[in-house]
Symmetry: C2
Subunit: 343 residues, 2 copies
């Protein structure tokens, strides 16, 4: 069967070949209405003959629904988001649903722009993952976008950021960033550390702020204080941050990082200086990415894939929205050998 280049077969073409009306073709395609066996068979063979595929845009327009689910991430190349996204896709990829992943690069404007694009596509659901910029102006704009989405009938779920005010109907899968950070720093203190430096992610991010708050609380509860640096969630921040902290205060015996990637970067710097972890200095991170085990990193485990699955299920209505709108995800301290008592 020669295919005509440039113009795919339409439902009308199928109807013509099958000798039925377009309405009937639509019905057998969607299987939502009784159709005689014989008719269905003829339609199906016409579909096969033409390699017909429904025009998703026309369908979405006519039916006023879509099969698109949006996933907004800060960085697809970061396993933290990859793991969450794969969890979401585990739940949404089954049906004829298509996941749209938008990369904001942590920029507030791009986050808002993606939401507009998703609204334009009439996405069925959208999941916002990871931290966002914790600044009144951005939060207000975000709230507005999310409400517009929700008003249009789109299910909005947050995963890995705190609940947002004034967004009724929006569920949040919330990570315990503060509690985990508190436990982590407390562990260091219980090991005997008193001089602890902290290398955080972007200063204005919710994730950064909550983890830092947990850290500071643990320090304060023991009458301690320590230097804090901020950067981005990258290895480079870890390398530079470790260098700068040690230069400022050579007596530091432990370094806490805003996430595992930063921690790994810090280790790279320390090793380059001939320093041993944990003999000379203890290092710990946050997230427990699969790769963190290789560096024997003490960290805080967040069940990222599972959290993504939950968010995906809530978004598609396969799981009821949590009461109070918030589904809490606990953080678990994972002690490995990158931390030890100070010498």
């Amino acid at each position: 069967v020669p295919e005509r280049t440039g113009s795919p077969a339409t439902l009308a073409d199928v109807a013509r070949i099958a000798g039925v009306s377009p309405a009937t073709v639509s019905r057998v395609l969607n299987g939502n209405y009784p159709v005689s066996k014989a008719t269905a068979a003829r339609v199906e063979s016409a579909v096969a003959e033409l390699s017909y595929v429904v025009n998703g845009n026309a369908r979405a327009l006519a039916a006023a629904t879509s099969d698109l689910v949006g996933i907004v991430v800060n960085d697809v190349a970061d396993p933290f988001f990859g793991l969450i996204a794969s969890g979401i896709q585990d739940e949404t990829g089954g049906a004829d649903v298509l996941a749209i992943i938008g990369n904001t690069n942590g920029e507030p404007d791009r986050e808002l722009r993606y939401l507009t694009l998703l609204r334009r596509q009439r996405a069925r659901a959208v999941v916002l993952t990871g931290g966002t910029v914790d600044e009144p102006g951005h939060l207000a704009a975000l709230t507005k976008q999310i409400r517009a989405l929700a008003d249009a009938g789109c299910a909005v779920v947050q995963c890995g950021r705190p609940p947002l005010a004034d967004t009724p109907g929006v569920s949040t899968v919330d990570f315990d960033n503060r509690g985990g950070a508190y436990a982590l720093t407390s562990h260091l203190i219980s090991l005997g550390h008193r001089k602890i430096g902290y290398i955080s992610g972007p200063a204005d991010r919710t994730t950064t702020r909550l983890r830092l708050r947990g850290h500071r609380q643990a320090m304060a509860d023991h009458g301690l204080d320590g230097p804090v640096l901020s950067g981005v969630f990258s290895r480079a921040t870890g390398e530079n941050g470790a260098a700068e902290l040690l230069q400022r205060d050579g007596r530091l015996t432990a370094l806490v990082a805003g996430n595992d990637t930063i921690a790994l970067g810090a280790c790279t710097f320390l090793h380059s200086q001939g320093l041993s972890v944990p003999d000379d200095i203890s290092v710990c991170g946050y997230d427990d990415l699969p790769y963190s085990a290789d560096a024997a990193l003490t960290t805080v485990r967040l069940p990222l894939t599972e959290a993504g699955r939950i968010a995906g299920r809530i978004a598609l209505g396969q799981q009821p929205a949590p009461s109070g709108g918030v589904f809490p995800i606990g953080a678990e301290l994972v002690i490995r050998t990158s931390t030890a008592p100070p010498r």
Copy 2:
């Protein structure tokens, strides 16, 4: 301005408020036609007043074009794909383009199904990343899908898999899997290793086959042969594979893995047995993921993000299709300290 729940404003609403025709609104929105300043201003204020966002489905249907770009990956949670996808998004995310990332989990059926879904959405371009199943039946089905996509005017680009026959107009960004593997194993041999085991990814994948071919060629060129195991591209395969190979032959002095993730898993097993890398046994991988530096892994670097950028640019026509349809990406041997001469 109270927003009506459930039904977003339409272009007709904007036209009414601005006191112009729908055609005029469309023209100012698309900026592809001269419109008077005054009229444009009135339209823009009506758009703002209603928080109007064009209906992407209606636009795509009427204009017969779309802003969707599909990216097909085997596993979003794997940084190999995350890095390629982020490169593609670097190039496609600028305009009002939306990237759809589909996770095939390496299953041929899901790969085909995603292609159908993308065809249904009338995607403007699609990039197929990573290896595919190298089996005649699947390749034939894949060819058919890709041709159907191309016939419908969709730009199709492959990134990280070999060129496909009978798909005119389809460009391929091709990784040097064979050459890199040859260089890697040759390095081991030049170090003095003679007993070398290999833990590969899925047996039927193009990536696996090409890397294995390079390895075997290097072995054969030196009159050597060695055990080969296959699994999947995971840490577990590395752990189990290393265990099995060493049990089969305790005299092995080096292990080559199908990718870095497998290599890292192998290291985990070796360490658990109290074996030292590279003192007791050398280990190497492939890809040079950022995390591989932490384990000081000798590996082969593939510029994944850059390859993704090139594929993205070709897909959007921002860069001419390579002559011969193939854009070769070289592989670079990266020697670190996970390999050393056998004791």
